[in-house]
Structure formats: C-alpha cells, structure tokens
C-alpha cells in the first residue's frame, strides 16, 4: 500500500514541482521584462496568467497520463510479479495496460514463463521422487509384514522403533516406543548386545547370534542382532528371530528316541548272542538247561520285537506332528495340472487342504498322467480330492487299462524336475511319508495318493496396524520425566466403562479401552480393548449407556487380570483420560487386589482444556472436539475404546496448543492442571 502511494505520489509531486518551477520562472521572466522594458502591467499580467494556467494545465495533463500509463502499470506489474513469486499462478501477465512501458511487460512475462517452467519441472521431480519413495516404502512394508521371521528394530535403550507381524506373533502385543525388554528376558539380549559391541569395535560387521527366551519363559527364540549405525554413531539395533521351541523339542525328542532305540537293541542283541554262544558251547547240554536257555532266548527276542514296534510307533507320531510343509489347496495343484495337460482332464468335487510340497506333488502327478496317456486306450481322466481315513487322498480316475505297480515304480525312479536335481518321485513320496498306488473301480481305474489333511489356512485378519514403525522416536533422555517435553512422551489415552458413577460405593469397571500416542501419532493398531467381569450385576441404566450387559462380560477376565494386562500396557507411558480423576479412582481402588500401583503420571483433558480456555463453560469431549475441528464418528462412542480414541484425537490437537500456551513439559502440564483443579474445587464449593 505504502509503496503504491509512494510511487504515484512521487510522480504527482514531480509534475507539481515542474509546474511550480515553470510558474516561478515565468513570473521571474515577466517581472524582469517589465522591470527593464517598462510599459503597462496589464499585458504582462495577462500573458503571465495565460502562460501560467497553460503550463499548470499541461503539467497536470501529462502528470495524469504518466500516472495512467506508467505509474499504475508499473505498480500492477510489480504486484503481479510479487504474487507469482509467492504463489504458483499459471496465467500470463496482461501486457495491455503496460504497453507504454516498452519491453518491460514482455520481459516480465518471460520471467513468469521461466518461473512456471521451473516450478513445473520441480513438481515433476518431487512427484517422481515421491512415487519412488512410496514404491520403496510399499515394498519394504510388504516385505517386513509377511516375513516369516520376527523383526524388531530398537533404540540402544531397547525402545521399539519397528516390529513386524511375526514378531508380534512370537512376543505378544508389541508396541512402538515400548521396551523390548518387557517382552524378552533382558539378560541374554544385553549379553548379546555387549558381544555385538565388542565385535563391532574389532571391525567385524557380522550379526551376533543368541538364544533368547520370551519374558514368560514359554518360548525359545533363535535370534541375531546387528547394530545400526548412521554416520558412525550407533542409533539402534535390529533383531531378527524365529521360534526354536518346536525345533528344540523335536530335536530332543528325536535324540531321545534314537538313544532309546540304541539301548533297546543293544541289550537284547548282546543277550541273544551270549545265549547262542552258551547253547553252542556244549552240544551235550542237559535238557533242562537247554530248555531254560532257549526260553530265555525266545524272551529276549520277544522283547526286541516289542521294542522295535513301540519305537516305530513313537517315531511315526513324532514325524507326523512335525510336518514342515505348507497348507496347499487341492484346487491349486489341479489347476496347475490342467494348465499343463489341458486335454481330457477334468476336476470334480470340493476343495480340500493338504500339507505338501505343492510343486513336487504337481510334478509327480503330471509325470503319472503323462505316462498314463502314452497308452491312447486310457481316457476320461478325472482329478478329485477326498477324505480317506484321517488323510486326504488325491485321486486320479481314468477309463481303460490299469497301471501296473512296476510301471509306476519306473516313473517314480526318474528325477522329478530339473529344478530339484536328483530328487526322484520316490524321494518326494518318502518326503511326504506316503505311497501311491492304483486300484480298480467299477468304471475303470483310480490312482490313490494319500496326503496329510489340514484345515484351511486361517486367513490372517486384515491387520489394522498401519503404524508398525517409527524411526524418529525421540532421543533417550535421562532427565526427570517431568522435565521432558510433552512431544517426546509416550501417552496412553484411555477410558473405562463402569457399572455406575460411584467407585467407592461398589461400582466396578466393565470395560477398558486405550490407545497409545507416540511422536504425535495415534497408534490405532496398538489399541487396548478389553471387557472386564465386574463380579456384580450391571444395572440396566448403565447398560443403556454403554451397551454392555451381564451376558457379555460373563466370560471376561476379572479386574485383577484385566488390571495387570492394562498396567503392563501402560508401562513407561503417561496416562491421559477425559476426566481422569474418575477413571483413575476406579483403578486406584483396585491396586491392592491387582498387586500393582498405577503411579504413572496422569493428565486430564478436562483440566488441561480449562487451563487453556478459562472462559469456556463447556468442556465436554464433544465441545472440545468442535473447538479443535475434530470430527468424532458417533458409531463407537460410549464404548471405552471409542471414547479413548475420541479423547486421543482431542488430546493430540491439544498438544500443539499447549506448547503455544507455554505448557511445554509434563511438569508444567501437571502443575497447571493441579492449579485448575484447585480453582474448580473452590468454585464448586
């Protein structure tokens, strides 16, 4: 504004000065002429007046033209350029008003075009880079999510920065920024990290292997840790692990079986040898002696028979239990066969699931079908999968000549596939612990291949955990927690549903819901949601609020169990609730029964809002949501988790406002809350 007035005023002043100067010179000239030449004054005055008005008018006219055609276009051009510098506007500058400014307007347009071009190129580059990053990210996420091994990335102080689904399956309810040592026995991990450190110091970059046990000691994990260094400084470690419990068990079982077998055979074999020696040693043995030696021989051999069968059976169950093959749908095998051998091959019957090496079984059947077809008298091939005994039989029916077992044997003796090296069809059958044969049916012949049945693989529920990594966890701080900025804390925002409003008059919790906030992100995937059996009747009035009735909590854990689980869930976090005093009262009253103290720092969104907006008279969750522009979906409100999520949304927005209001640390937030608490108490009484 100043500038525009400035330029135009300056032009106006310039022409005014020109007019005034002209007038002054004119008056001076006339005065000089009159003084020297003399004569009547009137002529000079008239001449002066005409010339003066003419001069002033000319100056005003040219001044206006200048304003119209120079000052204003310059200002307009300047404004256009300034706007284009700040915002991306893809329209040329209008050159018409600036036509008297010579090449200035076209030059400005040239700059504008160049700017637009640069911007477009930059946008393209950014878009390309972003697409590339997104692709990398999607690949990385898919890879980690479906990796069969557990992966955890943690900070040097064991806070989890990343975990995958397998890790969650093995270690339980992992969460970002929670301590890995909560889920894993800390000593072996610490020891492995020490060795890893020493190794890294020696310049070896190999991973350190160790055997870890879960916190409850139920499972053993074979794990590898390796350091993560950025620019030479250690920022954390990655731990990759798999469950070794069953491996160890199976190994132990096999060792045990083998040792038992050896001992079971050695003893009677030695005895039988000795007995035969004794019988042979003296051909003239008396009958009694002979009979007793033979009886003993028979007894030893009988014991050997019993042992061998017993061990064979145990070995059978041991190998049946441990079957390291995936569940495969019979359809998948049949589809592959039909694709390879399309003529005269039908599939009938329902889909079954079997444990097998799908590729090997497909190759095996393809080999057999190919072989059978070499005799054109065979036709009408039908594939089917059906239950037989405890197994699923893959069946191939055909009309025409039967298949001699010797022929089948010869097909099976050949290597299965180039990809499998010398592995033959027979090897594949043995690998699956099965056999293959053909038998006659009413209409033709049928090839039978029994395989281990399995249930349909449980489709992993669409895991809602979109937030399974965060590499920007705040640096570990050794300061007192109260001194730490709010933005660096891990919060658990929670809510409870209860049988009523009076914890001290026997009302109990019926549901606990909670959700963590880490690094300003609400981790919906790590939510805590649990029904609690209150051990008492739930009044209908309360059921009307939260929809939880006696039947729904009948099988739920009691407050002792639920409280322990929730306590573990909140470990190291700051608790946040809307009207926290109410929910905390319920928890605190149960501390003795639970055997744990809920002494985490707690923040109340009501008190914090009161501190931020002293004049607000409505501090309900909905009012706060409106204030922060948060849309709360009504769907899950008045469930513990639904309200906890709503509170979390409000609290997340509040965090930014708190910082702006000078409440930056946890200590400040607590002291301001306490002050609000006292004021409100005073107001209430």
């Amino acid at each position: 504004m100043h500038e525009r007035l400035g330029l135009r005023t300056r032009f106006a002043l310039f022409f005014a000065a020109l007019a005034l100067g002209g007038l002054a010179i004119l008056i001076l000239g006339l005065w000089l002429g009159h003084a020297r030449a003399g004569g009547p004054t009137d002529g000079f005055v008239i001449a002066g007046a005409v010339a003066g008005f003419g001069l002033a008018g000319l100056a005003a006219w040219i001044g206006l033209l200048f304003d119209q055609n120079v000052a204003r276009p310059i200002l307009a051009l300047a404004a256009d350029l300034a706007t284009r510098a700040r915002a991306d506007i893809d329209v040329d500058i209008d050159e018409a008003p600036a036509r008297y400014l010579g090449a200035l307007a076209p030059a400005a347009n040239a700059i504008n075009d160049a700017l637009a071009e640069t911007r477009a190129a930059q946008d393209r580059a950014v878009a390309e880079k972003t697409a590339l990053l997104n692709r990398d990210k999607a690949m990385f996420e898919a890879l980690l999510r479906d990796l069969a091994e557990g992966v955890v990335v943690a900070t040097p102080d064991h806070r989890i920065m990343l975990y995958n689904r397998a890790a969650q399956g093995l270690l339980g309810d992992l969460g970002l920024d929670r301590r890995l040592t909560t889920f894993l026995r800390p000593e072996p991990l610490a020891h492995a990290l020490d060795r890893m450190g020493a190794r890294a110091a020696r310049g070896e970059i190999e991973a350190e292997r160790f055997l870890a046990a879960t916190a409850c000691g139920e499972r053993f994990l074979v794990a590898r840790v390796s350091p993560i260094a950025v620019n030479g400084s250690r920022v954390g470690y990655v731990m990759i692990f798999h469950d070794a419990t069953e491996d160890l068990d199976a190994h132990a079982e096999r060792d045990h079986l083998f040792n038992t077998l050896l001992e079971a055979i050695r003893r009677p074999t030695a005895a039988i040898g000795a007995l035969i020696d004794a019988i042979e040693a003296d051909p003239d043995l008396c009958t009694d002696r002979r009979t007793s030696l033979f009886r003993q021989l028979r007894r030893e051999q009988g014991a050997l028979v019993v042992k061998v069968h017993e061990i064979a059976e145990r070995h059978g169950t041991a190998t049946a239990r441990r079957w390291p093959m995936p569940a495969v749908a019979s359809d998948d095998i049949f589809d592959a066969l039909q694709a390879r051998l399309p003529e005269d091959l039908r599939v009938e019957g329902a889909r079954q699931f079997i444990r097998c090496d799908g590729f090997a079984i497909t190759e095996l059947l393809a080999r057999v079908i190919g072989g059978l077809r070499s005799d054109p008298a065979r036709c009408d091939f039908v594939l089917r999968a059906g239950a037989c005994d405890r197994e699923i039989c893959l069946m191939l029916d055909w009309k025409g000549p039967e298949l001699p077992d010797g022929q089948l044997d010869r097909w099976l003796a050949a290597p299965l596939s180039k990809g499998y090296g010398h592995y033959t069809g027979r090897d594949a059958l043995e690998g699956h612990g099965t056999e293959m044969w053909s038998e006659a049916t009413a209409t033709g012949n049928r090839l039978m291949l029994p395989l281990q049945a399995t249930r349909a693989p449980v489709l992993t529920p669409t895991d809602p955990r979109p937030e399974f990594y965060d590499f920007t966890l705040p640096q570990p701080v050794s300061d007192e927690i109260a001194e730490r900025p709010l933005s660096e804390l891990r919060f658990v925002v929670f809510d409870t549903e209860t049988t009523g409003l009076s914890p001290r008059a026997g009302d109990e919790i019926v549901q606990i819901g909670g959700v963590p906030i880490v690094n300003g992100r609400i981790l919906r995937g790590e939510a805590f949601d649990m029904l609690v059996n209150p051990g008492r009747h739930i009044p209908a009035a309360s059921t009307a609020v939260h929809g939880i009735d006696n039947a729904r909590v009948a099988a739920a854990p009691d407050i002792v169990e639920a409280g322990r689980r929730f306590h573990a869930y909140c470990e190291g976090a700051v608790l946040v609730a809307h009207n926290a005093a109410f929910d905390m009262a319920f928890l605190k009253l149960k501390e003795d029964r639970i055997g744990l103290r809920f002494d985490q720092p707690a923040l109340c969104t009501v008190l914090l809002a009161a501190a931020l907006y002293p004049d607000a008279d409505d501090l309900t969750l909905d009012a706060l949501a409106t204030r922060f522009g948060v849309t709360l979906t009504n769907e899950h409100r008045h469930t513990a988790l639904g309200d906890a999520l709503a509170t979390a949304e409000v609290f997340r927005h509040m965090l930014g406002v708190l910082e702006g209001a000078g409440i930056g640390t946890l200590g400040e937030a607590i002291s301001r809350s306490d002050r609000m608490h006292r004021i409100r108490k005073a107001q209430n009484y």
Binding site: G302, L304, V305, V308, H309, A312, G316, D389, E402, P404, D405, G406, D409, G433, T434, E435, M436, W437, S438, E439, A440, M448, P450
Partner: protein, 127 residues
C-alpha cells in the same frame, strides 16, 4: 484234495530258511523263491493256494506281483499274505488296496504268521 500249497517269496535267506521250514511243518506243500521274476515263473507253473510275499524283492516288487495276481483270472483264488520291514501305515494300506488278504510288519512272531496262514487257508477248507 491234496495238501494246500504255499509259495514263499522272500529274498532274505535267514528268515526264508526258518519260514520255509515252519510253514512246511504246518502241513503245507512249501516252495521258496527269492526273485520277483522267478515268482512270476513259479505262479505260471503251478498256482499255489497262498503266497507269503515280501514287498522288497529283486526285479519286481511285491506290490506289482500282488496286483498282477489280482488281475489274472487264473490266479484269482490265490490268497496273498504280504510282509515288509518298512513299517508305515501307508504301506499296509497300499498292500491291502492292491489286493493283499493280510499284511504283516517285520519283526513278527512266526506263530502270528502261521496263524494267519491257517486262518486264510482254513476258511476254504471248511467250505
């Protein structure tokens, strides 16, 4: 009607020696062959009333021989008692599916074998 005949197909000399003797002692006309091809020849010459058939034979497996017996009209009355040292359940099922009348897993008590033979042949004796 003469003595019932038993054909013993077993390539392992130790057990064959004992079994041949024991089966013969039961009163059956007993022959022993040690090779799959020779089994076929023996069946060709004179079909026995019962075969004691080991699964693992040189040249031709017991399964193949059993299957062949079952599809040959002339041999359809031959009883087949299969035995193997491979002790899986699935081998037993394959044997029975291919037409064996009984299946024994080694080691077994010879008394069990002779009892099985008696049961398989005795039924026919009564008929």
């Amino acid at each position: 009607m003469g003595r019932k005949s038993v054909l013993l197909a077993e390539d392992e000399d130790g057990i064959a020696l004992a079994l041949e003797y024991l089966i013969a002692r039961e009163g059956y006309d007993t022959r022993r062959v040690a090779d799959g091809d020779l089994v076929l020849k023996a069946l060709e010459e004179a079909p026995p009333d019962l075969m004691v058939l080991d699964v693992m034979l040189p040249n031709r497996s017991g399964y193949e021989i059993c299957q062949m017996i079952r599809r040959t009209e002339r041999l359809k009355d031959v009883k087949v008692l299969m035995m193997t040292a491979r002790g899986g359940e699935v081998e037993r099922r394959k044997g029975l599916a291919l037409g064996a009348d009984a299946f024994l897993t080694k080691p077994f008590a010879t008394a069990d074998l002779t009892a099985q033979i008696r049961a398989l042949l005795g039924g026919e004796l009564d008929a």
